[in-house]
């Protein structure tokens, strides 16, 4: 084994350091522009005082920024957005229920399979993953028909059912991987103390799984929040959501674009707020175990 600790004379090392720093600064700028350009574009249009402006007129900042677009949205004066708060409520309803149901059903199933040593339990995990062999957009036609059979046509519950179905396989996978970190001795000890399976689930499993549950919750909310297809097809006009209204921009050439983009910005806020609120748990959930040095704060 040869030991070569010095990569070169000090001058060369210094040059290398400067190059590395310059390279990362350049990469940082590129990433900043790349990440922010579409978001910046949203603000540029939203802050324009005139309704129909989407052209880029050479100004990197709107000459007369105005909150007119936002005002029209909040007061529901803009065309297409007369029911903005109602639609926002529908989105929130679908998103939150998807989140709660995914966390609940997923944690129950992963507890039974992973902790209770249900024989043939892995069959369930495999069957769940098989769901992804049938991509979400493939099932939209049969869903459209079977929701009628279930009496759910035009109901938000049709969309919730679909989103929960697609969120659960990832949720169960994630929860099972994380649960491997909880020692079985804990369960056995609680058993000796006379805990039932339900107590084990509520008092030991759930509290220790909080980081993984946070990741699953954010994932499920974003899945429902990102959905366009299922909401567009399965919901009636009365139950429409913000996501679908946005897509209808294409139908009309003189839609009130500034208000539309203001609405888009408002719609983007809730998941970002959730991600921010749960960031500590999400980081802990993603860095499962965290052996070695924990360089993340």
């Amino acid at each position: 084994m040869s030991i070569t600790l010095t990569p070169g004379p000090p001058a060369r090392r210094r040059w290398r350091w400067i190059l590395t720093e310059a390279g990362s600064a350049l990469l940082g700028v590129v990433l900043l522009i790349w990440s922010l350009a579409p978001i910046y574009q949203m603000f540029l249009i939203a802050l324009d005082p005139e309704e129909g402006e989407i052209e880029f007129d050479g100004n990197l900042w709107p000459p007369e920024p105005s909150l007119e677009g936002f005002r029209a949205v909040v007061t529901q004066k803009a065309r297409y957005l007369e029911d903005f708060w109602h639609q926002f409520g529908n989105s929130l309803y679908i998103g939150l229920l998807t989140m709660v149901l995914t966390v609940l059903i997923g944690s129950l199933a992963s507890f039974a399979v992973g902790r209770m040593r249900l024989s043939k339990g892995s069959l369930l995990t495999n069957a769940a993953l098989l769901t992804y062999a049938i991509p979400a957009s493939f099932l939209i036609v049969p869903y459209f028909r079977i929701m009628h059979t279930y009496g759910l046509s035009n109901s938000p519950w049709a969309v919730i059912a679909a989103q929960v179905t697609f969120a659960l396989p990832f949720a169960i996978l994630m929860l099972q991987l994380y649960a491997k970190l909880i020692p079985f001795e804990l369960d056995d000890a609680a058993r000796v103390d006379g805990a039932s399976a339900a107590q084990l689930f509520l008092r030991i499993y759930m509290p220790l799984m909080i980081p993984a549950l946070a990741v699953v919750a954010v994932y499920a909310l974003l899945l429902a929040w990102n959905d366009y297809l299922y909401q567009a097809v399965l919901l009636s006009v009365r139950n429409m959501t913000v996501s679908v209204t946005q897509g209808q921009l294409f139908a009309d050439v003189d839609a009130p674009y500034n208000a539309m983009m203001a609405a888009a910005i408002l719609y983007v806020l809730p998941p970002i707020a959730l991600l921010f609120a749960l960031r500590r748990y999400v980081v802990a959930g993603l860095t499962i175990g965290g052996t070695g040095d924990t360089r993340v704060s």
Partner: protein, 305 residues
Amino acid sequence: MSSTQRVLAAGQPVSVKGPWRSPGHRHLHGSDFTWAIAFVLPYAAVYVAFVVYPFGYALWLAGKPSLYAELVADPLYLSTVVNTLLFVGLGVNVKMFLALLLSGFFLRRRWWIRALLAVYILPWGVAAAQACVSFHWMLIGELGLVDGVLSAAFGIDGPNWFGGRWIGLGSDIAAYIWKWMPFWTVIFLAARLKIPRDIYDSAKIDGATGYRRFVHVTFPLVANLYLLCTLLSTLWTVGDFTTVYLVSGGGPAGATDVLATLGFHYAFETSRPALGIAAVISALPVLIPIAIVLMRRLQTSEAQL
């Protein structure tokens, strides 16, 4: 002190590899079995009602072989298959590779890189429909932001981003990468944070730094995760409807359609639901093996997402 408290007081073991299966000699019996069934029941119900039944129904609707003959005869279908392969193949692989490289960049311990990470993951939080609409407008020709900046800064006339098949697909792939790269970067970043420091220290003594460290030390350690994520992402991306539908709209004249948007077009715009299902079901012979490899890999390896 109860035995639970005693175990808790002893602290959590750093690594728990064994106990996953080891105390398996005890079988479930009596009330425990009832509890286990009760816990699994909600998911089983969801699975039967919203996976098995609709899937069976779809197969029954699209069972007629004549539908597939009709598909193959449609030139639009063949170009759509090529588009789907390109969109998924390029989109997923470029995204994953860049995400892996960038996760290394975000490992650097600088305050500004940490702040940049917060900005970088924003696209993950921006809803897909809104992001795609914004991308569409940014690229909408000479009125769009990109061409506007190109002509203002360099005096070049930018291309018409949705004018042709290849450039339209390229725009779709760019929007797709923008939206989904942050999520996978965070997954890889989390995995690389778990690599113990001493491995790098001994690699350094052996002379492995920079590029060689990445190829011979880091990559072998995350290779399995990389493969799993790529397979999972492939399955998800084949079902991606929003990106193509809202960025290029499948245009010009269906030249950039992928299977997901073509199926939608058949089913809801030309009212041929069976043909729509057939179009998307034709991808199953590729997707099911991918799902099976994914399941096998997850079972046999010590994979951790």
